[in-house]
Symmetry: C2
Subunit: 352 residues, 2 copies
Amino acid sequence: MYSWMKNVRQVEPYVPGEQPKCTDLIKLNTNECPYPPAPGVEKKLKEFKVDCLRLYPDPEASVLTSAIADYYQVKQEEVFVGVGSDDVLGTAFLTFFNSEKPILFPNITYSFYPVWASLYGIPYETPKLKEDFTIRKEDYFKENGGIVIANPNAPTGLEAPLSVIEEIVAKNPDVVVIVDEAYVDFGASSAYPLVEKYDNLLVVQTFSKSRAMAGMRIGFAIGNSKLIACMNAVKFSYNSYTMNQTTLALGVEAIKDDTYFKETLSKIMATRERSKKELKELGFSFPDSRTNFIFASHKKVKAKKIFEYLKSKNIFVRYFNQPLIDNYLRITIGTEEEMDRLFANLHAFLDE
Amino acid sequence: MYSWMKNVRQVEPYVPGEQPKCTDLIKLNTNECPYPPAPGVEKKLKEFKVDCLRLYPDPEASVLTSAIADYYQVKQEEVFVGVGSDDVLGTAFLTFFNSEKPILFPNITYSFYPVWASLYGIPYETPKLKEDFTIRKEDYFKENGGIVIANPNAPTGLEAPLSVIEEIVAKNPDVVVIVDEAYVDFGASSAYPLVEKYDNLLVVQTFSKSRAMAGMRIGFAIGNSKLIACMNAVKFSYNSYTMNQTTLALGVEAIKDDTYFKETLSKIMATRERSKKELKELGFSFPDSRTNFIFASHKKVKAKKIFEYLKSKNIFVRYFNQPLIDNYLRITIGTEEEMDRLFANLHAFLDE
C-alpha cells in the first residue's frame, strides 16, 4: 500500500470488453457496423496533408459541425461534437445536471448514465421499465433535476413512440431532457426536429454505429443554440482541443454521403428482419428491435450457456450478467454471411 | 432566460485562441513545431486501412503505450496515454487529488491547473515564484494534497534543476507530485528516470510540441505502474474509447523515429539560441528558455504595443493580459525564415 493511495479516487473496477485476438472470428458483441465507412473517407485519407498535423486543430470543429448542420438542416450553432457520444453525454451531464433534485433514467438502459452521475455528484433515480421493457411515461412527470432517455433503448432495442418522448419533454420545461439516439438510424424516429419547438431538448447521436466510424470517435448533439452554447462553454473551460485533424476531415466525409448511408442502413435492416424470423424459428423471443442488434432470450436454454457455446465457436455476442436481463443475449446484426454462420451454429446447438 | 438555466454549470467565459484566417501569416503564438511530423507518419497514413474505422479502437491503446515504453525504456504498464496532455493532466487531477488539503502549484504557470482544480472541487494554493520567476522549493515542503510543477515552466520557459524537482518529490511521499514536461525535449532534463525510485512521481509529456503532432492530440504520462493503474481505472470508469484508430497508428510512427526527432530538436534549439542574441540586441530581456518559446520583455516599449504592431504585420505572438506578466510576450520559435521576418519587423518598429 502506497501512502498516496488514500487520496485516490475510488471507482468501480473496469471490466474490459472482449477483444478477441483470433482471426477467424465473428464479432457481434459491440454493435459495430459490418460495412466500411463511406468511400469518401478513404479518398480523403489518401489526400490528407500530413504537414497540418503540426498545428492544433480548430477547437470549434467548424468543418464538422457545419457538415452535420447541413445534413440535418439545422443551424451550425445548434450542433455540438465530441469524442464519441460518451464524451457528448458526459459533457451534457456536467453542464445541465447541477440540481439537488435527482435526474431520472430507466432502470434498464445504457450503463454509463449512473457512472457519469456518480462522477459529477449528481443524484439520480431509476424508474422501472414495464415487464415488456417499455417506458412508463408518467414516471417522468414528477419533479426532477433532468431526464435521460435512450431511444431506441439499450440493450433492449425497443423504440418509445416519438409522441411519448415529446410528452416527456413538454412536461419538463424547467430541466434539460437528453434523448440518446445512438441507434435511431436503423428505422426509429429521431426527436431532433423537435428542438425548434422545445428549448430544453438535447438529442445525442453517434457516428459509431450507422456511419461505420466507431474507430474515429465522433458523437454529436443537436439542441437549441443556447443549450449548445452552455455545453461549449463548459467544454472549452477545461479542454479546448479534443477533435483531432483526421477526425474532423474524415467525419465530414462520413456524413455527407447520404446515398451510401441509406444503402448501408437498408442492408442492415433487411438482415435484421431476416434475423428476427430465424431467431423466432430457433425458439428465441425478443423485443421488436429498431436498432442494429436484437436482445433475445431462448425459451429453453439459458443465455449464458448459448453465449459460451458460441464463444467456443469463435462467435462473440454480448451477455450481461445482471439482474433482470441475465437471460438475454445482445446480438449485433452483422453481414448476411456472418448471420448465416451464427444461425448454423445456433441450430447445431439448440436443435440437438 | 430559459428556466433550465438554473441548473447549468457556471464556468469562466472562454476566450478563444486567435485562429487567424489570412494566409501570409507567421504563427508564433501557440508553441507549435515549425517542422512537419516524422516521415513515417505520412507513409503510415497512406497505407492506413480505412475498413478498420468501423471497429472500436483498442481502449488500452496498446500499440501506442508500447511504442512510448520502448522509446523511454520503461515498462508498458508505466505509461498512460490521453487526448493531449490536457486530458492526461485532467485525469491525473481527478484520480490523485481527492484530499481536503490544498494542492500546490506556482502562481505563474499553466493556466489550466486552477481550472481542473475547480472542476473537480480540489482546494489549491499558489505559492509565489521569486522575482526572477524561479521556484522557491521550500514552498512545497509544507502539508498538501498534491503538487503540480511545470518544468520547464510555462509561460516563463525556465527550467528548475532536476535536483530541485527530486527534492520536492522526495519530501512529499504521501502525495502525488505531477511534473508537467510539455517542453522538456528542447534541452531540459526529464524527471522520468526517477519514477523507478519514487512511486509518487508522475511525469507528463506531449506529442504536440517536439513531435509536431498538436493536430493529433496525444499526451502521455510515465509513472509507477500502480499510479498508472489508478489513472486507467478512473479513465475506463467513465469513457473507455478516447484514442482513435488514426491517432494510435500515427502516434507510433511519430515516436519511433529518433533520428528525425533529434534533428528537429537541434534545428529548433539552434534557432532559439540565435533568437536570444537577436532579441537581446533589440533591447529585450527574458528568462533563459529551455523550451521552444522565449518569454520576453522590452526595456522601453510595452509588450502590448509590440504585440499589436506585429499583429498588424501578420505576425502572431502571444500576449497575456494578466497581472505580473502583462509586459511580456511569449514568442514561439519558428523556422529561420519566420524568425528573420519577425526580427526585421521588430527592428523596423523598435529602432525608429
